[in-house]
Symmetry: C2
Subunit: 386 residues, 2 copies
Amino acid sequence: MRAVTGAGTAIWGVGTSAFAKQPSVGGPRLAWQAAVEALDDAGATAADIDAVYAGSVFGDPGAVTRCLQQIGIVEVPVITIENACASGTSAFHEARLAVETGRYERVLAFGIETMTSHFDGAISPIASDPDGAQGYAMPGIYGMSATRYQCEFGVTDEQMAAVAVKNRRHAVGNPRAQHRTAVTAEQVLASPMVADPITLFQCCSIADAAAAAVIGPRGGSPDPRREVAIRSSALRSGRLWDHTCDKVWGWDIVADTAARAFEAAGVGPGDIDVFEVHDAFTIGEIIATEALGLCAPGEGGRLAESGRTALGGAQPVNPSGGLLSRGHPLGATGLAQIAEIAWQLRAMAGDRQVPGARLGAVETMGGGTAGIDGNACVVAVLEQPG
Amino acid sequence: MRAVTGAGTAIWGVGTSAFAKQPSVGGPRLAWQAAVEALDDAGATAADIDAVYAGSVFGDPGAVTRCLQQIGIVEVPVITIENACASGTSAFHEARLAVETGRYERVLAFGIETMTSHFDGAISPIASDPDGAQGYAMPGIYGMSATRYQCEFGVTDEQMAAVAVKNRRHAVGNPRAQHRTAVTAEQVLASPMVADPITLFQCCSIADAAAAAVIGPRGGSPDPRREVAIRSSALRSGRLWDHTCDKVWGWDIVADTAARAFEAAGVGPGDIDVFEVHDAFTIGEIIATEALGLCAPGEGGRLAESGRTALGGAQPVNPSGGLLSRGHPLGATGLAQIAEIAWQLRAMAGDRQVPGARLGAVETMGGGTAGIDGNACVVAVLEQPG
């Protein structure tokens, strides 16, 4: 397998809709908001796009193509990818490789999910199979991960709550997030219990949203000084959590994917100035930060309450507020993470800016409904323009 | 956009499960049947596969990854594509391009759909949106196409029935088809009316099935004499049928995609010895054969009853029995078409063999639930080994 370093590709522009429960807006309008912003940002038009890689999980067949055609992206290849929670970053990865290998010049990486029309609930409702009906849905799976972490490493309820407190505080500065009010640890811990020890404020919400990035050759955009270089990206599958794993939910696959992405970029985790990671539940960020190498295994809880990963700390994680604040519209999430890091690296992140951020990383990890082994993980390393 | 001719890629092996309503078999076993046959046929093992591109429409998130992991395909990138009815051939196209551009050495193109667990009905049930609830589902859309064809070109009920008679007769020789009994034109026309003028025997059935192909560099397999060369493939989107089209359902997009695939392969439609085309409904084959250039526009009905596209004719279409005989498990369909052409070009098609077939073509066309504009079309040109 040839390693693709991504030295030759860049993000020319990014865009997102608002992230909210907004069933009345509809997929085509969300798509328009995200794609047109990304195209404008790239100095491009719909006619410039050679192909689209799109992430979407719950959409009707062909729904993405329909949305895109209504904004003028017609005839070109549209490949819709369902890689569970990592669908958006899988689309990003495939789009980048398509440019890197010279197949297309300008590719739109796109993601969309209209969840309120599919689900009627406040928290992740992925529970359509028999296991799910028995409670072995995503909150339950993460709840078991958290229980094991509490037992094995002494992670505390307060450390988990610290993730939610941090990310909700970050989101106060993110006008596109769904939840923009800060919460206290007491509020997090007093919110309704969903899957012991995970309380409601430690769960991502559903949302309706779209997000997009225009990807092309480095130096090829109308204004190369605004290009965010893609240093690398990696996509892996792997068992998340079964008798062959000695780590809990996702640890192994995130560590494996991150190692490949970091190696291809020629960096280590200590070189990254800002991260967007997959905090679908608070314990998810704790596990992800360990697997990404921000701290030693078992230290993720202490890292969360140390302040090191907060805005103002040495390596801020989820300055956007993360999935806990945006909500988690599956297909859109990964590209919203990409957009946030692109804004950070261009110093466009306003009140949530990480000063002087030069390198950023995105991590998304998705499992299927049955949970333990159907999944995908993507890690990407991005670099500031110039 | 760079044209990719596919001169350097080949199908090393193919495999399918049976095509049937077989809810008790389950996705993992269907996947095993298809993937292991394809790997054996390629002289490869699960450990040889560098990446998977999979077509699946109705599966739960991560379901494909789960199925593959249970047959030993773990850790490698798995990209699950939802491109409506063309999901399987979209996966084939992306797999081929990934090899062609040097990204991977050996890629599994895979497709699966377990429809009986999702739908409870005998005919294509894609009617989940408000339009569908009013009857504007796939049978109704094809029914309107047929009505317009009858009005505009004098296509007769008998010509449409001739497609079903031909394809069901072909399927008598296909042990993997769902419907293996021949039917008469009288039986076709007397079967229950589904969407005037389309009767039940003119509609594809739902099915549970999987299909797969191993793709690698040409000349690189353990036995290059068995490789089926991929001369070209093309993937396009486009409006199927609205006020901007002067052709009915799918004509324009099939013609556009076929023109690109034929040009890239350096062939014309007259050079192709055997076709597998998207006969989800009888009128679909009539339109597809016209758009592929087998006859002039409006002549598809007469072509169907001429015998020219039957086994024994000059250019057999759907020797496998097509979707009308296999059924149409969306993600699996395209790769079953690929497998049939691979068997034909290797002279392995038994009672349904097209003697001396040297070049074969596959066409798949998919629209979304709302029908008129969300879609994808893939056309591929394959060449006999040696």
